[in-house]
């Protein structure tokens, strides 16, 4: 029999139901594998004791026949979700001693379905980054690394690396500008950012509230469907949560793509696009065409401006959200100062890392008197144009197909990215528009580069039409036959 930690969630659920092994055995196997693979630095906090308790409860329920949708499945939780009595750091020094007295809605939903939590997964500090290198707890190593350590992508880098290295059956992630999709692509696994409002943001450490959305990172499309069904749903603790029914996403996987129109935005094929990326993109379109889908070139005219728009709005919201870290009520407090302003300044300067400080200051500037209209209001207007581009495009297609990222995983400590933050920001070029428009988007692996590193394909859907994404993603997955780690 194969190593039980390498089973997908759906396979493990079937085996648990047939009593082939217990959740206790499965959880112990993951905890051992985590211990043997700490070199990836995927976990910030391991919660072995509570995991074993949860597994024992799951086994009781299997014995009694009262097992729930995710009973006994060991998951990793991005350390941005507050977990009751389990340290939650956002990968920041400023929260490195924070033990939430409450549970986020998304993780509570997973617990209500019987999930086991193995621990809290590493990420870019406050989810600000695309490489997991801004974490106070050090970078995560991509399990696909060969001669030199590669980044797993970010910000949900720990989640993607842990799923790829089988250090959990599946994981939660969050996505503000590509933070589920880019790491999923870099690590050769699958992730979906649902429609804004689909999952509650209650109890998720806020970065940019109008863009943040939680979603699953998992080994395959089916696992994403199972996880998202548990995670999603209306929550009156989040005023932006939407009161719409959550369908059975798995059922969409049996759908047919014949008759669907797949849009390929011409603006996503700029001059100089990596030919490997372009080739895989065309191949993905061919797979869908062979199944009877219609392929249509579409236009998203304001694509070029999405990144600059995002890098005004996201820091602006972050500067406001992160004002709460003052060293008074929770988290780190810098020692030894007299004056209250000194306490704030020293706490925040020592507590936040360089990228977070940079974004807070940029955000503060674009919101400041005299510059608000020129930057913040301008970006909000651009956001409308980018949003409307998608709405117009969806008049002539059902799903939009694009690459997830223009590149594969790059080495940790890459000089050009470190010297100029804009070079790092440019990696988000295919993902940020989706957050600005609030749309659902999938990333799934499509194939390997000449160097043997995974590329991801992105599927973008209409608001609350995740179902069609699961339909199309299931077909692409079947045709691409990508071999996971």
């Amino acid at each position: 029999m194969t190593d039980i930690t390498e089973l997908t969630v759906s396979e493990a659920l079937n085996a648990l139901k047939k009593h082939e092994f217990t959740s206790t055995e499965l959880t112990e196997a993951y905890l051992r594998r985590m211990e043997d693979n700490r070199q990836y630095n995927a976990y910030i906090t391991e919660s072995a004791d509570t995991a074993m308790e949860q597994a024992k409860e799951a086994d009781k329920r299997y014995a009694a026949g009262t097992n729930r949708a995710l009973e006994g499945i060991p998951l990793g939780i991005k350390d941005l979700f507050c977990t009751k009595n389990i340290r939650t750091t956002a990968a920041s020094h400023i929260l490195d001693n924070f033990i939430p007295p409450y549970e986020s809605t998304v993780t509570q939903n997973l617990l209500n379905d019987g999930a086991v939590f193995l621990g809290k997964l590493n990420l870019d500090e406050f989810a600000m980054g695309g490489s997991n290198e801004t974490s106070y707890f050090g970078p995560v190593i991509n399990p696909w690394s060969k001669d030199k350590p590669l980044v797993p992508g970010g910000s949900s880098g720990g989640s993607a690396a842990a799923v790829a290295a089988h250090l959990c059956a599946a994981a939660t992630g969050t996505d503000t500008g590509g933070s589920i999709r880019e790491p999923a692509a870099f690590c050769g696994i699958t992730g979906i950012k649902p429609t804004y409002g689909r999952c509650s943001r209650y109890g998720i450490v806020a970065f940019a509230s109008s863009l943040d959305q939680a979603g699953p990172i998992a080994q395959d499309v089916r696992d994403c469907a199972i996880l998202l069904k548990s995670m999603a749903g209306f929550d009156d603790k989040d005023s932006t949560s939407c009161e719409v029914p959550v369908p059975d996403y798995e059922s969409f996987m049996n759908g047919d793509v014949a008759g669907l129109t797949i849009g390929m935005p011409k603006e996503y094929r700029p001059e100089g696009l990596n030919p490997e990326v372009a080739a895989y993109w065309d191949k993905a379109a061919e797979y869908l065409k062979a199944r009877g889908a219609k392929i249509k070139e579409i236009s998203l005219p304001h694509t070029k401006y999405a990144l600059a728009t995002y890098y005004v709005l996201a820091p602006a919201e972050a500067s406001s959200n992160l004002a709460r870290y003052d060293g008074i009520r929770y988290g780190f407090r810098a020692p030894g100062q007299q004056h209250l302003d000194d306490l704030y300044i020293n706490t925040r300067t020592q507590g936040f890392g360089a990228e977070v400080r940079r974004r807070i200051m940029i955000g503060t500037y674009v919101l400041s008197a005299g510059y608000y209209d020129a930057y913040f209001l301008k970006a909000q207007k651009m956001r409308r144009l980018i949003h409307d581009d998608f709405m117009n495009a969806f008049k002539e297609c059902d799903v939009i197909l694009t690459p997830t990222s223009p590149i594969t995983a790059f080495p940790i400590g890459d000089e050009s990215m470190l010297q100029n933050p804009i070079n790092m920001y440019l990696n988000d070029v295919f993902t940020v528009s989706v957050n600005l428009a609030g749309l659902p988007a999938f990333s799934l692996p499509i194939g390997l580069s000449a160097e043997g590193l995974p590329y991801g394909m992105q599927l973008i859907g209409k608001p609350f039409d995740e179902g069609t994404l699961f339909n199309v993603a299931a077909k692409l997955e079947a045709d691409a036959k990508f071999e996971r780690k």
Binding site: G197, S210, A379, Q380, H387
Partner: protein, 95 residues
């Protein structure tokens, strides 16, 4: 709209962050790089465009004005770096 060293210091204070004197110049250059890049947005005429504040266009819900949670003083203070007499404690601010 390039910013100068004084602006860097002002933004830092508004953000309640400190930029060391020897890092002001480098920070200014980095910010100007980012701001120059952002200025490409000015290529687009947005005079008649309504700003998009949220993609979620539903009207915020009203709820009954009742207590949903409370009596959790100990939990609220549990993570405080300093607490005294059931309050958060801060350095003395009044001489």
């Amino acid at each position: 709209m390039a910013i100068d060293n004084l602006t860097v210091k002002q933004i830092a204070f508004l953000s309640r962050l400190k930029v060391e004197d020897e890092k002001v110049e480098a920070t200014k250059e980095e910010f100007n790089k980012i701001l120059n890049w952002i200025e490409e947005l000015n290529e687009v005429d947005t005079d008649k465009v309504e700003p998009l504040i949220s993609v979620n266009d539903t009207v915020l819900r009203m709820r009954e004005d009742t207590v949903a949670s409370g009596n959790c003083k100990d939990e609220v203070l549990k993570n405080a770096p300093a607490a005294e007499y059931d309050y958060f404690a801060v350095p003395k601010v009044v001489e």
